[in-house]
């Protein structure tokens, strides 16, 4: 039986001086508030928070600049090279990027991608005149551990730019250190399918009213809720239900994302 590692993560206890330097770099001038849960600074239109180890969002550096709303139109989305350079310089300067693990069994890898977002603007009632308008550019990190994707609110790096000068939002949530906690017997996709089937079956139902349209195995870093801070593997199954009124099945039915532990 195949085994899958369960990983233990540790988040950084950022020092006040370092936090103040990050805030200064982001243009904040204000009083630093420090509690056991978080470090915080508020500027005129912006705020920066770091969630300390042991808190619900431990490891999350969160920044928002509210000078303009994210929906505000801009002339053009900031260029790929400029936002990537800003991001790399920022993460390197404050040592906030993803870190390798010293444990041999753990391989951390990441790649950055840049996503330019445009809105669709509809200016006539027939929908024949839909125009595109630049909105924002996001720098996104795709994180992997042992070739498995890592995601969730506490394993995510997103910087949102309205101009190339600086981001308007930062959501940077990473671990400082990662080690092997234990290896557990792993469920196969077939076993997960059977579990989903058991969960969705209704008594007396002869017709299967759903189909699995996708499944992925990832490490998911959710909110911390006590004990060792574990990074656990989950299957995420995407299910589509048949709309009983859509006899000919001509259109998409309701879908659901089901999270299932990947271990026994």
């Amino acid at each position: 039986m195949k085994e899958i590692p369960v990983l233990r993560t540790y988040t950084e206890q950022i020092e006040k001086n370092k936090f103040a330097d990050i805030a200064k770099h982001l243009g904040l001038r204000g009083d630093l508030v420090a509690t056991k849960e978080a470090l915080f600074m508020q500027g005129k239109q912006s705020a920066l928070v770091y969630a300390m180890p042991g808190s619900r969002f431990a490891g999350l550096l969160f920044f928002t600049d509210q000078t303009n709303g994210v929906a505000a139109p801009i002339e053009r989305t900031p260029g790929k090279e400029a936002v990537e350079t800003w991001t790399q310089d920022f993460l390197k300067r404050f040592q906030l990027g993803p870190r390798e693990s010293s444990a041999k069994q753990i391989r951390v890898s990441f790649a950055t991608r840049v996503l330019r977002t445009e809105s669709a603007v509809d200016t006539d009632k027939e929908g024949k005149n839909v125009k595109r308008a630049p909105i924002k550019t996001d720098v996104i990190f795709d994180l992997q551990v042992n070739d498995l994707k890592v995601t969730g609110p506490r394993a995510k790096v997103r910087l949102t730019f309205k101009s190339a000068r600086a981001p308007v939002w930062i959501h940077r949530a990473l671990w400082e250190k990662m080690e092997l906690f234990e290896a557990r017997p792993m469920l196969t996709e077939d076993e997960v399918y059977r579990k989903v089937k058991d969960r969705l079956s209704r008594r007396g139902e002869t017709l299967k009213m759903w189909q699995m349209i996708g499944i992925r195995l990832v490490y998911f870093a959710g909110e911390y809720s006590g004990g060792p801070d574990l990074l656990l593997p989950y299957y995420f199954a995407e299910i589509e239900y048949r709309d009983p009124k859509d006899k000919e099945r001509t259109r998409q039915g309701p879908r659901q994302l089901i999270q299932m532990p990947a271990w026994r």
């Binding site: 849960e37 508020q42 994210v70 929906a71 669709a120 603007v121």
Partner: protein
């Protein structure tokens, strides 16, 4: 005084049951009522959550008495590009449908005639950009454009999203500015409040709760002199005039 109403369904009788929708919607309601001085008008769940509460009067619905009687309405349960779903044994039927679901302009929602400014649908796929029916593709404007009759902003997802207990509470805390306390555990007396715009709050909430392959979206309507893209909720910042009759609609996606 600003008003809020929420509806949620866990106990579906024709779709799989969900788990956390009561806490999800309840968190939104409680945050605004207990911490932002909003008046809570309704918190209906399961068999008390009715499609009829969202349906326009021309279709014998009672939206003006419920969904359209409050400033902010929040629904959580199942959804699809064609609408959002209720139990099958409640008035009037099981789907608050978009246009082009059962007919070109047969959608249930015509909101904002009475009071509603903001509608959050914490459900899967409702704002998916395109969806096909009978070989024809309809975009989000085709399906939802006519729903805006004074409504400012509709918030939802283009993809599936996780069934969680926290989105409503976090979203409301980002809206009323208590997010440093609610999300990060900082004492409010040290920080004060930092309200965010409705669209910013929705997008940031989805990044704080969903996996990174999920995609949120907003749809808003506007006209000269009424641009809701910068709306804050009542009591927390500026709110645009009602954008009706609207001259443009805007759809914005956001990778969570």
């Amino acid at each position: 005084m600003a008003t809020v109403g929420v509806e949620w369904v866990n106990d579906y009788d024709w779709l799989p049951k969900l788990t956390y929708e009561d806490k999800d919607a309840g968190g939104f309601y409680d945050e605004l009522v207990h911490h932002a001085s909003w008046i809570g008008v309704f918190n209906w769940g399961d068999s008390n959550a009715w499609e009829d509460d969202f349906k326009r009067t021309e279709k014998d619905g009672h939206a003006p008495d419920w969904a359209d009687a409050v400033d902010f309405c929040y629904f959580t349960g199942h959804g699809s590009p064609w609408g959002f779903y209720f139990r099958s044994d409640v008035p009037d039927d099981s789907i608050a449908e978009s246009d082009y679901n059962s007919g070109p302009l047969n959608g249930d929602l015509r909101l904002g005639r009475n009071h509603l400014n903001w509608l959050a649908l914490e459900v899967c796929n409702t704002l998916q950009w395109e969806a096909s029916s009978g070989g024809t593709t309809y975009n989000a404007f085709d399906r939802w454009r006519a729903s805006f009759e004074g409504l400012h902003i509709m918030c939802s997802f283009t993809t599936t999203s996780l069934d969680l207990d926290t989105p409503g509470r976090y979203f409301a805390a980002l809206l009323d500015g208590r997010w440093p306390s609610v999300i990060f555990g900082l004492p409010e007396f040290l920080i004060g409040r930092i309200p965010l715009r409705v669209i910013d709050a929705w997008f940031l909430m989805t990044s704080i709760t969903q996996p990174d392959w999920a995609e949120a979206a907003v749809l808003y309507a506007g006209k000269a002199g009424a641009d809701p893209s910068n709306d804050y909720i009542h009591g927390c910042g500026s709110v645009s005039a009602d954008p009706y009759p609207h001259t443009y609609r805007v759809w914005i996606p956001h990778a969570c």
